[in-house]
């Protein structure tokens, strides 16, 4: 089985889906000849032509709204934001046109919204955001955030085939840093299903995206300290896999929710709330959360960004406190 970069896995999924289904097309800025700001779509315009790999004018609200219209006509647009940050100007189109259409008037809106997101590379306040919360709060959307090349391919294929609007969070920091086994075959990863990334019995680390790797690293250190952490990779943020969350807490009795957006009102607040309500009887300690610092933006300079981002040490500190509880 080939070992691919996270980014290559995404490209594979796009290419395979475009070959499989002529109704799939791509739209975004600089995705054609240039291959996208991160080269994710490199080579696709050569294979599929300019009608199916569309370089849009600089108009996110317009082309996102247009994706909804194309989807209503039966196409399957894959809509790329150059950075997830810029989807803020298309927020209305996503939450009001797309998310509500099937429920409101029975029109399926099979759009995949590709969101290169996350920090860790001195991108500053407007190129590093984690806007999962913007979308995970909106019912009618599905929101996924793969952490591995395998899931990146499988979830993207599932998203494209899904008849609902799916917000697909691809972590920029993982693009070229993570390599993993990715089958050549046509597989999908089901939307809505979490995955136990590491089995353990002492406490549960519940996370997704880039912080999965932070958690796995922390888990190794904890193991050396005699604490056996289970790591749950949520993979889907909407709808949440409540039963997987409750199952791991039932098993360990202790939960730390880890995510990259700022701590307050981050997506892990919902996870913690589910545990505090439906998993209360399993709990042997407080439900802890580790997120980024509550700053208005992701900072630019490396020392600030290191301080800002949740790191292995932050996860370890929370786990040690909880393990000792």
């Amino acid at each position: 089985m080939p070992r691919l970069l996270y980014l290559e896995a995404i490209r594979r999924a796009l290419r395979e889906e475009m070959r499989r289904d002529p109704s799939v097309f791509l739209i975004g800025e600089d995705i054609g000849v240039y291959g996208g700001a991160f080269k994710v779509t490199a080579g696709l315009v050569e294979e599929f032509g300019e009608e199916r790999v569309i370089d849009s004018p600089l108009s996110e609200a317009g082309y996102t709204g247009a994706c909804a219209g194309a989807a209503f006509m039966g196409l399957r647009p894959v809509c790329e934001f150059q950075f997830a940050d810029f989807s803020s100007v298309a927020f209305d189109a996503i939450i009001n046109i797309m998310a509500k259409s099937y429920w409101r008037w029975g029109a399926p809106c099979p759009v995949t919204l590709r969101m290169p997101y996350g920090g860790g590379f001195s991108g500053g306040p407007f190129h590093s955001q984690c806007p999962e919360t913007w979308y995970a709060q909106q019912n009618g959307l599905k929101v996924v955030a793969p952490a591995t090349p395998y899931d990146a391919k499988g979830l993207l294929k599932a998203a494209i085939r899904d008849d609902d609007p799916v917000v697909y969070f691809e972590h920029k920091f993982l693009y070229r840093r993570i390599r993993g086994e990715v089958p050549d075959d046509d597989y999908t990863v089901p939307i809505g299903k979490a995955r136990v990334a590491r089995e353990g019995g002492d406490l549960s680390l519940i996370t997704y995206g880039a912080t999965l790797h932070t958690c796995l690293e922390a888990a190794e250190t904890l193991a050396a300290e005699g604490v056996d952490a289970e790591v749950l990779d949520l993979r889907t943020l909407k709808p949440l896999d409540r039963s997987a969350i409750l199952a791991t807490v039932e098993k360990t009795g202790k939960a730390v929710v880890v995510y990259e957006p700022p701590l307050t009102m981050g997506p892990g607040a919902e996870v913690a709330s589910v545990i505090a309500e439906d998993g209360f009887e399993y709990l042997d300690g407080p439900v802890m959360r580790v997120g980024a610092k509550d700053s208005p933006g992701v900072p630019f300079a490396p020392p600030l960004e290191r301080f800002y981002l949740p790191g292995v040490d932050d996860v370890l500190a929370a786990c040690r406190k909880l393990a000792a509880y």
Binding site: F25, E51, R52, I54, S56, P57, S59, A61, G62, Y63, T64, G65, A66, C67, A68, G69, A70, A71, F72, M73, G74, L75, P77, D92, A93, N96, I97, S101, Y102, W103, R104, W105, G106, A107, P108, C109, P110, N139, G140, K142, D162, D163, D164, I191, G192, P239
Partner: protein
Amino acid sequence: MKAEVEAASKLDRQLLLHLYRTLLLTRAVEDRVISLYRQGRIVGGVYNEYGMEAISVGVGAAMGPEDVIAPSHRDLGAILQRGITPREIMSQWLGKLTSPTRARDGNVHIGKLEAGVLAFVSHMGASTPQAVGAALAFKLRGERRVAVASFGDGAANTGYIHESMNLAAVRRLPVVFVCNNNQFAYSTPLHKQLAIRDIADRSAAYGFPGQVVDGNDVVAVYLAAREAIERAREGGGPSLIECKTMRMHGHSEADRAEYVPKELLEEWKGKDPILRMAGRLREAGHLDDKVQAELDAEVRAVVDDAVDHAEQAPAPQGPELLDDVYATPL
């Protein structure tokens, strides 16, 4: 009147009577909704196109069966011609399960894929990129279909319209933009909304044709729309039609519109699109008292039936709310 009669004479009697009948039906539905509203039988607010019917009727008549419209909130006349029935429309006003939005949405927020009507989104401007996207789909698949985007003079100033028109222009998409300029956006008069005379001129900012049409002349609207739609269908790209008209009622029926100068209303009352079309048809010998009476009766029967149907239709209970949330359930 001369030019009007001449333009009309290019159309056959059947088409002219279709336009007239649709004007009557549109007005009749509006009148009935208003009277139900006054009786407290309508759910929510009431918006209509009173006095502006020629625009949506003319545009709707010019569309082909496979074409698609993203209507504004004052486009009943077009919707009625696309196979959405008066029964469905009345069900929508009464919040019944038989409405196209199954009582989840209301009033003018009607949409139906099979009818080529994209459900109106309240956010002004937000419907327009959807029409552009539909046109994109038509072009990508090589279909000879056209999308119509309809919006008001207020909505014209939203970013959505700019981005939509520019995108349509760059990709030469088969889309026709129809702006119904009724001189007000809620209470805001034109001069506080924009600083140019003709919204049609904005087409030059994108590189496609624009024209001003008398929005109270259903034949003029029809002819302009037909030409623009055929141009788009033949690969000629987008265009913009500005229909000058006047909003004769309040923004909603709850709005007494005291901010509208009385004289303006008086002036435009004389331009009522239905009376004008009637006069023209009579002049051309297509309409007399007998035909008028038949049409009135026919339209009344349709509306009566629609209201009866809607009143007897089942109302939601509550829990249906959570059915069909996802098109692909988990």
